[in-house]
């Protein structure tokens, strides 16, 4: 179940990061790393022995709780947004992409826009 949940999340991530059928190499490595953190973190939490009152604490928590909270919880939290920002222009969106999308606007869409603006949107001053 641990592996299938992680696979499901990563599958959705790959689907979102894919552009014209391919995913940037840097993104792949980070996504795989986070997949491993989730799987290894949850598996360790499942197989490690239970802690007692005298057990050592890691950053204030018993080992298994620390692995889940700091490993599965905090590590991707620190990594993913930074990877997203660092790779944004190359692998997510840049001005050329936006221009390409704008260029694909169909005449139908302009008609729709006017239709909507006249009917729905432009009710100012009424």
């Amino acid at each position: 179940m641990v592996v299938s949940i992680a696979l499901c999340l990563m599958g959705v991530l790959f689907l979102g990061t894919a552009r014209r059928g391919s995913v940037g190499k840097a993104t792949v490595w980070w996504v795989v790393l986070v997949f491993l953190v989730i799987v290894v973190g949850f598996l360790l939490a499942l197989i490690l022995p239970a802690e007692g009152p005298e057990s050592r604490l890691w950053l204030g928590l018993p080992l298994r709780a620390a692995i889940v909270l700091y490993g599965v919880g905090v590590l991707p939290l620190l990594v993913f947004p930074l990877v997203y920002a660092a790779t944004f222009a190359h692998q997510t969106l840049n001005q050329a992409d936006i221009d390409r999308v704008r260029g694909s606007r169909e005449p139908l869409a302009s008609d729709r826009l006017e239709d909507i603006h006249s009917g729905l949107a432009s009710s100012g001053g009424q």
């Binding site: 950053l59 709780a65 991707p76 944004f88 169909e106 729905l120 100012g124 009424q126």
Partner: protein, 487 residues
């Protein structure tokens, strides 16, 4: 007048003031429903965060941690992934859609993706069903908070809360909502961080809290707490994937002024969300340790964790700030729900029947008032009915919208019949399973929830029907939709 009551009045006056100011800037349905596409990344992040988190973060969540231990944390653990995942999977596609089509609602995106008014109408119906229940639950929660602070009676408190939200939602629409969201989001971050610091200090620090709990109730600090690993992992799955189907959050992606500014959205959202969620974990752990240390009486109900902690272990000014933060969390969510509900009634349902509303701004305001009043009446009825209505709100969003919206915008193999079938499957499965479970006709094995079953089923239906749809019967994607999906 108590410090808490003064804080409450100041808070209400501020949100109403922001609403009146924003009303002067609301001239069209575009302003009312998508804030005139004028937001920067900071406003988007705080607005999305404030809409994401409800009163559950401050009251129910810490209570759940107090009750079942660290297993409850699996509800918020996926936040490590969901913000960035949402930016990759949804935010970019939705914001680009707004470049080529005049997107107002989330069902608009489904309608455009599948070129289907039926899919758009069904998505709007699912949103409406979920919104009414969710609204009533949140208004009841707000009534409880206001009554606890001002002692005016629950019914009056519900109506005061509803009227304050109505004042700014009906006048300034989502524009008032997002400006208020920023104010409310900052309040939530501030209050949560301070409450977390006081919670740790009261318990003697995190290590002392852990030592106390390990000595008295070691299972509480096991990674799954008192629930099974299956139940904890089920939380992780449902809240990880389900976060992609929350229309009141996704809807805000349309509002970003410049699509390239999405670059900083996950980072800003993650920082804001993480700081606000500190209260969820911190108060639950501290309350448990304080009870075990004999410094706090065992709580009558788990939901007393935050109020009891604030009244007994924090200064009065922090309790006043916390009141405003809880109200802020609830009001920002209510405003977002009212707005998407009104948009469904003003825009999506008429579109599904091939009609257009001639004055979107006027009807947006009328439906905003009507929805809030209906929800306030429902909130007064009975606690169990409201609880029942509230149960399936989140799950209904997840099971009906994740496949058709989040996956469909990224997978060209998705078909119109697949989208329609998955929305219907999610809607029917969630309503039937939650009803059977609520009326005790059926109970799920430990660790299985109606939301998880409905979400998995709707995804299976979506993929199966899409893959079985003959390729030659699938309409060719419009060039603009294809460009958005390939960008």
């Amino acid at each position: 007048m108590s410090v808490i009551a003064v804080g409450a009045f100041l808070y209400f006056a501020t949100v109403i003031g922001i609403g009146i100011w924003a009303a002067g800037k609301t001239h069209s349905a575009s302003d009312f429903f998508v804030a005139g596409r004028s937001l920067g990344p900071f406003m988007l992040a705080f607005s999305a965060m404030a809409a994401t988190l409800s009163g559950f973060t401050f009251i129910g969540g810490p209570g759940l941690v107090y009750s079942i231990g660290l297993g409850a944390v699996f509800i918020v653990l996926p936040a490590a992934l969901t913000n960035t995942m949402g930016a990759w999977v949804l935010a970019k596609r939705l914001r680009l859609l707004a470049e080529v089509r005049d997107m107002i609602t989330i069902p608009d995106a489904i309608g455009a993706r599948y070129d289907s008014r039926a899919a758009q109408g069904l998505a709007a119906l699912a949103i409406l069903v979920a919104v009414v229940g969710y609204l009533a639950t949140n208004l009841l929660a707000m009534g409880l908070i206001i009554d606890a602070s001002l002692h005016i009676g629950q019914v009056q408190a519900i109506w005061i809360g509803a009227l304050v939200v109505l004042l700014y939602s009906a006048t300034g629409g989502i524009l008032a909502g997002v400006y208020n969201d920023v104010f409310q989001g900052i309040l939530m971050v501030l209050a949560s961080t301070l409450i977390f610091a006081f919670a740790l200090k009261s318990g003697g620090g995190l290590s002392e809290i852990s030592r106390t709990i390990l000595a008295g109730d070691p299972v509480f600090l096991a990674p799954w707490g008192r629930i099974t690993p299956l139940a904890a992992l089920s939380f992780f799955f449902v809240f990880g994937i389900g976060a992609l189907g929350q229309p009141h959050v996704a809807h805000k992606y349309y509002m970003l002024r410049d699509a390239r500014k999405l670059r900083w959205y996950p980072l800003l959202m993650t920082v804001a969300l993480t700081l606000t969620l500190l209260v969820f974990v911190g108060v639950g752990l501290a309350a448990k340790a304080l009870v075990l240390q004999g410094r706090m009486y065992p709580l009558a109900t788990p939901d007393d964790a935050t109020p009891t902690f604030l009244l007994e272990f924090s200064p009065l000014w922090l309790a006043a700030l916390a009141f405003s933060a809880v109200s802020a969390a609830i009001m920002s969510t209510v405003n977002s729900f009212v707005n998407i509900g009104a948009a469904a009634l003003t825009h999506d349902i008429p579109t599904a029947f091939g009609r257009r509303v001639s004055n979107g701004l006027k009807w947006g305001r009328i439906w905003t008032i009507a929805l809030t009043l209906i929800a306030a009446f429902v909130a007064q009825l009975s606690g169990s009915l409201v609880a029942f209505l509230g149960i399936f709100g989140w799950g209904l969003f997840a099971s009906t919208l994740v496949p058709a919206l989040a996956i469909g915008l990224n997978w060209q193999g998705a078909s119109k019949p697949g989208a329609i079938a998955s929305i219907v499957a999610g809607l029917v499965t969630t309503l039937v399973l939650e009803s059977l479970s609520y009326f005790h006709y059926f109970s799920f094995p430990s660790g299985v929830t109606a939301t998880a079953v409905a979400l998995v089923l709707s995804m299976i239906v979506f993929f199966s029907v899409s893959l079985l749809t003959p390729t030659d019967s699938m309409p060719v994607l419009h060039d603009d939709i294809r460009a958005v999906m390939e960008a």
